[in-house]
Symmetry: C2
DNA sequence: GGCAAAATCGACACGGTGTCGATACGCTGC
DNA sequence: GCAGCGTATCGACACCGTGTCGATTTTGCC
């Protein structure tokens, strides 16, 4: 087993262990043993277990962005559709990597690098959302607040709500209805009154 | 200095230290020294530094609830006003105890007792909000999703947005506009279109 | 086969935690 | 005043996880 394989094994082991334990419950020893090496060998590959999480975060974030871009490319310019597919892309990715997402959020407060990484990601989403909001007529909540503030609040809501759903917190929203709930709030806040029921996007 | 004073000193010291350091950056030693006792004496009062945080959380939560109830009692039954004063009560309390609020959120993921305590608090707010939503005509986002899901999402949004504001995260909303932003989204989601500007609640 | 680089490991020192037993303090009743 | 008891304090200890270092083995290449 060469170095790259070993590094992949550490990442894989860590992601699996995070399904059942928080990062701070894991010791470097168990991660290393899980990947088939001794604790001190672990430090040949990563400077700390936190660095492993950072690496996992990177992968998940890359996937989320790719999925979002693909989804945007696949739908028309209808802004309601853009909201829905964007939120869905976010949801799908972080759901697939539930453990990493939850661990990342958990350690964000005490890991400056994780915080910064996540900041950049969220800022990208906010930027995108604010741009979309600015193009809409100022109805709904958008009438009273700046597009950027509105975009920030909505994106932070998504983050927290999905975290609660994946962690099965109390209170939280079922997986089955969480995306619909978020989309409904985004729609009400950005576009105001529900669209004329006679003109759904699909109809001509 | 008797036992009660000493316990109070520990709580006070810890809250002050949390203004500048996260809980995991604090050792029992520095908290104890700050309160004028040795590390081992600390354990006479609290089983761990986490228990100190729990105690601090209890006080803040009690204050938030009291403030909310007082605010509700002080305004009429207009649901828009109820939303605004409820959110403001939440904001004011957690702003005054910024350090404790942030530390609490930070340690929620790895402290089961903190999680449970916070769960109960959030559930109380959600219950209240869902009741209020159920009384409204089903417009806005409320048309499509259950009152409880909507209430959950809105309250989680408040939690996360205020956390970001107090932590001065990127992205986050300025203190000056954060309450307005939240109220605007709540209003759009629960009540739908903005109220007819000519019919403020006070009119008959 | 030999050699350098890659990879592995055991041993160490450090820092924080929580416990224990010994001791000092302070009040109450005599 | 002091005996006695519960309250409060402390130092010493054992434990656990971390990260480093130097020595050793393994790998891949000429």
């Amino acid at each position: 087993m060469n170095g790259d394989d070993r590094e992949a094994a550490i990442l894989e082991t860590c992601e699996v262990l995070l399904e059942t334990h928080s990062l701070h419950e894991l010791s470097v020893d168990v991660i290393a043993r899980g990947a088939g090496i001794s604790r001190s060998s672990f430090y040949f590959y990563f400077p700390s277990k936190e660095a492993v999480l950072l690496s996992l975060m990177d992968r998940v974030i890359g996937e989320a962005n790719a999925r979002r871009d693909a989804a945007f490319a696949a739908v028309g310019p209808d802004p309601r559709e853009l909201c829905r597919v964007g939120i869905t892309a976010f949801y799908d990715t972080f759901r697939e990597h539930r453990a990493v997402s939850l661990a990342a959020a958990d350690s964000r407060d005490r890991l400056p690098e994780a915080r910064e990484l996540w900041s950049r990601v969220m800022d990208g989403w906010v930027e995108l959302t604010a741009g979309l909001i600015a193009l809409q007529p100022r109805t709904g909540a958008a009438a009273a607040v700046s597009p950027r503030d509105l975009a920030t609040a909505l994106n932070l809501m998504n983050e927290r709500v999905l975290h609660a759903t994946f962690a099965q917190d109390t209170p939280s929203i079922d997986e089955a209805s969480v995306v619909d709930t978020l989309v409904a709030i985004w729609t009400a806040a950005i576009f105001g009154p529900a669209p004329d029921p006679g003109t759904t996007p699909e109809r001509t």
